[in-house]
Symmetry: C2
Subunit: 127 residues, 2 copies
DNA sequence: GCACATGGTCTAAAAAGCAGACCATGGGAT
DNA sequence: ATCCCATGGTCTGCTTTTTAGACCATGTGC
């Protein structure tokens, strides 16, 4: 399954699918983008405004990866100025479900985390 | 966002709990560590062997963050040579459930992702 | 004629991550 | 006695990643 056409790009068999998937969605921006796209289609700049503190380059790069892995589709309308729309694919939408569990957990336990942080800090200052 | 240098941390008001939690668990190593710790307590070097390609520095740093946020406990036994054990807290264990959903999804859809990648690459080569 | 908006890419600088050296110390092999 | 290893980290450069900001082509409103 390794493709030799580009010569440089050698893809290894990933023995651990979890690791492979985590490498993609476990970065700084992927989950945020997917979450932003959950309510519906968004354009590039709208996505950037939605997320707030992502650089153009990283947004562009991460979107490309998500498209590559089949989470989203990129549609270019050849108008002027150009319009580009990003939409979740069925695969992307199917990912929303486990992600929502994660988000629900985050919401439910955020207080506990903040408390743990405070406890930790207090313990540090005590010494 | 929070900047973290060893020993001194500046915590901003996080208006979005999801964002706050994602910043912690959404890095290269946290999920992997939590997964490795799921079966039971592990020592530092055992953890390093388990994960395989993490540097001591990042493992140490990430463990410190996880401890800080209450996901794990660090127990130092003052023997020689020193022994340090890392264990999931109840909070950490409660996180395992949504994480398992994620892992299950990854397992189930890994094939689709690989296929999407192949399709994307074929499309690129066509031009 | 001028600035603006679009969706990016390019570049230089800053930040994060890496491998490997180093630490103190006790135990086992030589 | 001496050498060497194992422990859990931290420190030091070097490499990779991310960032901010300039730049691009072009059609529209002023």
């Amino acid at each position: 399954m390794t493709t030799m056409s580009d010569g440089e790009e050698i893809v290894f068999e990933q023995p651990c699918p979890i690791r492979d998937v985590l490498d993609r969605i476990g970065d700084q921006w992927s989950l945020l983008i997917l979450e932003a796209l959950a309510p519906g289609t968004l354009r590039f700049n709208a996505l950037m405004r939605e997320i707030g503190d992502v650089s153009k380059q990283m947004l562009s790069r991460t979107l490309k990866q998500l498209e590559q892995d089949g989470f989203i589709t990129r549609t270019l309308y050849p108008e002027v100025p150009p319009r580009v729309e990003y939409t979740l694919t069925p695969l992307g939408r199917s990912f929303l479900e486990p992600m929502r569990q994660l988000v629900a957990w985050a919401d439910a336990h955020h207080g506990a985390i903040v408390a743990a942080r405070a406890r930790y800090q207090a313990r540090q200052e005590q010494t």
